[in-house]
Subunit: 354 residues, 2 copies
DNA sequence: TTGTAAGCGTTATCAC
DNA sequence: GTGATAACGCTTACAA
């Protein structure tokens, strides 16, 4: 039962190196003026002793936290919500942790924070808020927080901090251009009735594109409230697609505004004896495994999550090393919206009519 | 530019309540002996002031960290590795954060820790290590850490701490029984050549099952080193499956030991004009979206990740409230292995020959 | 250039 | 029961 040798502290280093704690601190952090020889000596001693500064102590002294909190959405009323996005959130978390570490910060996942106190106790000075929604239950908690905040997804209120969003408008444009180039003339959109702000925005982008070109557009709505699983969501999309495709003047390109809708559309086409992409083109506004594995694989917009999170962290910490003035990072403008470029993953559901 | 009102501290509460800091601490934590009236008074004042204890300060004083670190595997030599498991890791991270919070701990994701110092600086007192491998580059770093550790996945060395693993042996047994019940007589296994300890273990379980019943078993190996994408991995599995299915005495049940292998097998069967499950049964040892979305959906073993992480956290923190003696949690036995029950998700790839 | 000392917010020790 | 006081390990005026 050997007692674990306690980690060396500044005091230890100072004693061994024969200098004061201040000098050690300055020598290692490069802050004050220290003689070059003293500095290298201290550094060497620190290395030999295996000294590592304690984040906790440093944070307490500095009044910050060195960690950024990732706030996942509360699981909403929709039973589907959690299922729908759990994989997505996982990806966000892992990527966010990498980006945070790039800024010398650790990342802490805060699944569901109930009261402002709970959040405050973490002393987080930076927060990434995922998918803010219209009547988000997290709002009161967040308002009470003094942490720097960046929202991932459009903030309907634009009051907590800047938002980082994928440039879905650009994405829709690229997608529609692509569909047009593949011969589409009339379009159909299948939209979920969820309170994510991106859905209305996508619909609007589509409408604008069509209006500008005089193209015909039909919009079908899927009631997700009735769906309990992703399969049911796909099936519901299939129903809606079925109706649209049965119409005499059926659209020859169908876009699903949810990860699960594409395959629903394909199933609908197939059951009507229509070939994809021969008779109807199919695409989604969000890429994902479903789109990649579908038969045929579905053309979709790649949201570029790493770029989104890099942008978010940059917003929080960017000018930190240059500006010593404030709490670090650039001034955060509440209703500013940073758009991140997206790209189109073109797949067999829209090309190769052969 | 109003200065943000600093968060109230124990000192503030003490002053307002007209008592000492000690009394406040005792009153709020319930540790020492405090008069009931004093206690409720202090509590009320604290509530009014919106006092929230600072985790940082508390941790410094107590010498702990209140957070558990999640150590993702280093991205290994295999280019595929990251792709293969990124979704999985994300799920692990989110679920782990929930389980950690259940024990009043925050969860921090540490993607790739290079030197022992870096890890030490976090002062983590609990660590969940993901997928320890045979020659894991993280070992020296971990050995140097004094944190309590639990490994998720079998530890080939059994030296760092207890391992939590899904009971794949049980899973294989259930799966094989199921296949046998569905009419299989000869079996084939398609295994990747990756250094995860679970693969050899699964193969062994399969061999034992077959040996006990005198059933014939063939094993095919896929060289993942040549694969750069999941698609290529599936294609490689398809090649191997093709060879096995072309043999005159082809197996009538094929099991893929990787999430992407199932669909490769199905593709192989299809291209040989064999129906699934009519002519050949197909299954995987790991469930996932791929298995669910495949056509037909693939029977697979559900690894029960939430249960695994719950077990891991329990191991770390279980007896904390009862035992005040040590650093919390039960004694961690290095080579102990905790197995978590798994279940079989039966799907169309093995049933409904009709 | 270096050292002294105060302070960050909390808990633990030990008097009263 | 309650309250000084000293840690915890670090940073940083301010002095020397």
């Amino acid at each position: 039962m050997n007692k674990v040798p306690a980690r060396p502290t500044v005091a230890d280093v100072a004693r061994v190196a024969g200098v004061s704690r201040t000098t050690v601190s300055h020598a290692l952090s490069g802050k004050g003026r220290v003689d070059a020889r003293t500095r290298s000596h201290v550094q060497q001693v620190a290395a030999e002793l295996g000294y590592v500064p304690s984040r906790t102590a440093r944070n307490l002294a500095l009044g910050r936290s060195d960690t950024v909190g990732l706030l996942l959405p509360q699981v909403a009323h929709l039973p589907l919500d959690e299922l729908l996005r759990s994989d997505w959130y996982g990806r966000v978390a892992v990527i966010a942790s990498q980006e945070a570490l790039r800024h010398q910060r650790a990342l802490t996942i805060l699944p569901a924070v109930h009261d402002p106190g709970e959040l405050a106790s973490f002393g987080l000075d930076a927060l990434v808020v995922l998918d803010p929604m219209a009547h988000d239950p997290r709002w009161p908690v967040l308002r009470a927080s003094s942490a720097r905040m960046v929202l991932l997804g459009r903030d309907p209120a634009g009051i907590l901090g800047p938002s980082v969003i994928p440039d879905l408008d650009q994405g829709i444009t690229i997608l529609m251009d692509h569909l047009a180039a593949c011969g589409a003339r009339t379009y159909g959109v299948i939209a979920p009735d969820i309170p994510w702000a991106s859905t209305p925005a996508s619909i609007e982008s589509t409408e604008q594109w069509c209006a500008q070109r005089g193209a015909e557009l039909r919009i079908g709505h899927v009631r997700l409230a009735d769906c309990r699983t992703r399969e049911e969501a796909a099936a519901a999309a299939q129903d809606v697609a079925m109706t649209m495709l049965r119409a005499p003047d059926r659209p020859d390109a169908l876009i699903g505004l949810l990860e699960d809708f594409g395959r629903g559309v394909i199933a609908a086409a197939r059951s009507l004896g229509l070939s994809v992409p021969g008779d109807v083109l199919v695409a989604q506004d969000v890429d994902g495994i479903h789109a990649q594995l579908s038969d045929p694989p579905i053309t979709a917009i790649e949201l570029n999550l790493p770029a989104q999170l890099a942008a978010a962290m940059d917003l929080l910490f960017a000018q930190e090393r240059t500006v010593q003035a404030t709490s670090g990072g650039r001034e955060l403008v509440a209703d500013e919206v940073i758009t991140v470029p997206v790209s189109l993953a073109v797949r067999a559901s829209t090309v190769g009519k052969a």
